[in-house]
Each structure stands twice: as structure tokens, then as C-alpha cells.
């Protein structure tokens, strides 16, 4: 079926196409695949999408993100056509008012978009849920996240140094995609906790800092491992500013915690109880203003508003006594993780 692509066309010599994209300011600093009409059409066909279809509308930018623009950027990022459904769901996620594009798309806080893929699609597309979880090595993981960031750059205008004013940023702003290790996890998958069926595929997006790794090789039970985790999390981020956290529990820790019979709900409650800081400590360490007042030593502030604000996923290599936590971006309810179904 012929589709009508309405984007402006440029004619360039084959050998110069990549360089042309750099010159136009269309890349993230790495070479891109030149977005020819044929490649873009294949991407749209795989997603069964009309090029004019609006995937998201970013209110603050007055920008409509169409399927055609997502497809062009997905080609440039190196996606295979079958990745299109995941990229589309991620774009829907960052377009949700609850995600609040304006903050994480611009803020000095330097958030990346952490994408967590659940359901059958994660295994079908070989999205990494194991060794080297946040690192290189998987085309699907690296190109899908890159596609989303190129959409943010090229369609929404979040260009580093211009609209994207992250003070530090982090490498996850190139791509930041993981899957939950549902095949080996003893727990309810994240998307099921968030209201989807196990056989549905979803993408959860959270505006996020980089992954913080912690180490515990000593504990034979859940309480020991999670005590180390809670201690590491307690003073992270803004120590009470972050709307949410993701906790990625890798193979050894996952098995140790599950061996104690703990569910994700119990993990969340333990972390909620053990990561609170006294107002006195937050004042002494200049995280909140004011002099320490009588009673401040025993007035406790949790690092998130509710235990539900810890998003627990089983992910990471089978070997090694490491897991990680990821503080979300912002404060209060300025940006909440959203979960969208991958439609096929």
C-alpha cells in the first residue's frame, strides 16, 4: 500500500548522507542511518500506522508527534521495523500529562527516560533483562531508547544546551532500555502490578537519574540484602524529593530475597520504612533549610510519598552480588512513571 509521506525531502549523495544528517543537527552525536522513504515506509508498515496519525501531543511545546516523525527517527536510531510498536508506546508514555514532558525534557536535573519493557514482546525482540543490563550489546535496547531520544530532540526540540539544559545529564540519555526478567522472576511482573495482563506487552517510562549500583555478598536472606539497599538509597537523589524510584534486583539478590519468601509488596514496605531520614539529618546536611529544632531528631521524612512509589523489577545478570536503584526525576508529582501497551 502506498503511503503519503509529507516530510521535507533532501537529495544527497549516498556517501555524504550520514555527514549531511550531522550538519543538519539531527543526530545525538553518533552516526545515524539515513532515513530514506523506503526505510521509513517499512517502519510504518510494521507498526500498521498511518503516517499522519498523532501518537502524542506535547502541550508545552505545542508539538504534535506523528507516526511519520517517529518512524523517521526510529530509522535514524538503527531500529528494526519490528521495534516500532515499543517505540510508539514509549512516545505515548512521555506524551501522557502525568509524565509531564516539559520538566524532564528541559530540566537542569538532567533526567533520561528509563524504559522498562514487560510482556512477551521483550523476549521476542531480545530486549536485555540480564547481563550488562544497562550497558552495550543489545541492538533492540540501544536503538529503541535512542529513537525516543531522537524524537525528543528532533520533534520536541529538547536539544542539549538549548532547550535541554541538564547540568550533568548522564549516559542513559543516549539510550536507557531494560526488560524485566519475567522468565526467571518469582514475582508479579511490573506491568501486571500496574494493571495489565501477563500476556500484554507494555513499556513503562520513568524520568530517571542514572543507575546506582550497590553490593552485598554477605547476606543469606532478604532482610540483609535489602538493609544494604535501603542504606544506599536513604541519602540518594534529593533524599525526599523524588516522586518515584525503580529498583532493579539482579539474579543473586533476586534469588536470595525470594528465598526468604518476600513479595514485591514486602520489599516496598521494608524500603519505605528503612529509607526515611530525620529532619535533623536533612537540615544538618543542608538538604532542607533551617536550624535543627527540638524534636527534629525523631521527625522522619520518607524518600517517597508511598511504598507504591518504589517500582521493583527483576533484572540484571544471574551472577554477581549487585543490584541497583534509580531515583526518578523531579519532586512531588511533577513527573510520574506511565505504562502503555505495545499494540500489535
Amino acid at each position: 500500500m502506498a503511503v503519503e509521506l509529507t516530510s521535507k525531502r533532501y537529495r544527497v549523495e549516498d556517501l555524504d548522507a550520514v555527514e549531511f544528517c550531522f550538519q543538519q543537527g539531527w543526530t545525538d552525536g553518533l552516526p545515524v542511518i539515513p532515513p530514506t522513504p523506503e526505510r521509513v515506509e517499512a517502519m510504518l508498515a510494521a507498526g500498521r500506522l498511518d503516517p499522519k496519525q498523532e501518537i502524542a501531543f506535547i502541550t508545552n511545546r505545542s508539538v504534535s508527534i506523528t507516526a511519520e516523525k517517529v518512524a523517521i527517527n526510529a530509522v535514524m536510531a538503527g531500529c528494526r521495523p519490528e521495534y516500532m510498536g515499543v517505540v510508539i508506546a514509549a512516545v505515548e508514555g512521555i506524551g501522557d500529562p502525568a509524565w509531564g514532558y516539559h520538566g524532564p525534557g528541559t530540566s537542569t536535573g538532567g533526567a533520561a527516560v528509563l524504559m522498562i519493557v514487560n510482556g512477551p514482546i521483550a523476549r521476542q525482540l531480545d530486549i536485555n533483562s540480564g547481563d550488562n543490563l544497562f550497558g552495550p550489546g543489545w541492538r533492540s535496547s540501544l536503538t529503541m531508547g535512542r529513537a525516543l531520544r531522537l524524537v525528543m530532540r528532533n520533534v520536541c526540540g529538547s536539544i542539549p544546551g538549548l532547550l535541554d539544559r541538564g547540568t550533568l545529564g548522564h549516559p542513559g540519555k543516549v539510550s536507557y532500555v531494560i526488560a524485566e526478567n519475567e522468565a526467571e522472576s518469582p514475582w508479579t511482573p511490573l506491568h501486571v502490578e500496574r494493571g495489565f495482563r501477563p500476556d500484554q506487552s507494555t513499556v513503562t517510562v520513568m524520568a530517571a537519574e542514572g543507575p546506582h549500583q550497590f553490593y552485598n555478598q554477605l547476606s543469606p536472606d532478604a532482610e540483609g540484602v535489602l538493609t544494604t539497599l535501603a542504606d544506599s538509597m536513604q541519602h540518594s537523589g534529593g533524599a525526599g524529593r523524588q516522586p518515584q524510584y525503580v529498583v532493579a534486583l539482579a539474579g543473586e539478590h533476586m534469588r536470595t530475597i525470594a528465598g526468604s519468601g518476600w513479595t514485591k509488596k514486602e520489599i516496598r514496605q521494608f524500603l519505605f520504612d528503612r529509607t526515611q531520614n530525620s529532619l535533623a539529618h536533612l537540615k544538618r546536611t543542608h538538604r532542607i533549610p533551617g536550624e535543627v529544632q527540638p524534636g527534629d531528631e525523631s521527625k522522619m521524612r520518607p524518600i517517597v510519598a508511598s511504598p507504591e512509589d518504589f517500582l521493583i523489577v527483576a533484572a540484571g545478570g544471574r551472577a554477581g552480588s549487585f543490584s541497583s536503584f534509580i531515583p526518578g526525576w523531579g519532586s512531588g508529582n511533577s513527573s510520574r512513571a506511565t505504562t502503555k501497551e505495545v499494540k500489535r
Binding site: 525531502r9 533532501y10 532515513p35 530514506t36 531522537l150 528532533n154 519532586s331
Partner: protein
Amino acid sequence: MEILDPTVEAATQPIAYVDRPGSLKGKRIGLIENTKYNSDKLLLKIGEILKKDYGASETRLFRKHNASVPAHEEIIVEVRKTCDVIVAGVGD
């Protein structure tokens, strides 16, 4: 080779600006506070200066839901009714 533009061609959108007042004398000032730490203090200080040095009649402070969102509808409605001039600030 032919390649497609990945960017959005900006849609033109006319924006009508209200005429700027020639003077602030007797004007009612709305202060739109974005919830960032000290932004209320800074705006109130500015409001005091506008009253003392420029003759504005009064100031009213409005608080957004958070720094990342535009002023919500209730603020806009109230500002239309009760203010002649607004000052919106970003504090970081």
C-alpha cells in the same frame, strides 16, 4: 539518495499580546509563583518594589501546581478578574 526531515516544521501560530501599560500607577499586580524554593519571597519582594517605587496599588500571589506545568485554569480565571499586570518568575 533521498532522505526525509526528522524535525517538525514549526506551525505558525499568531499570539496576541495585551498592550503594555504606560505606567504601573494604580495597577493591580498578580505574582505567579512556581513553587520553587524562595520563589515566593523573591516575587513578594518584587511586588513591594512595584508598589513602593512604581505606584502599583496591590499585589496578589498565585501558586502553580508545580514548576513544570503552566498556570492552571483557576489562576488564569482569577488573574483576569483581579489583576492588570502579572509577573511570572522562574527561580533556580
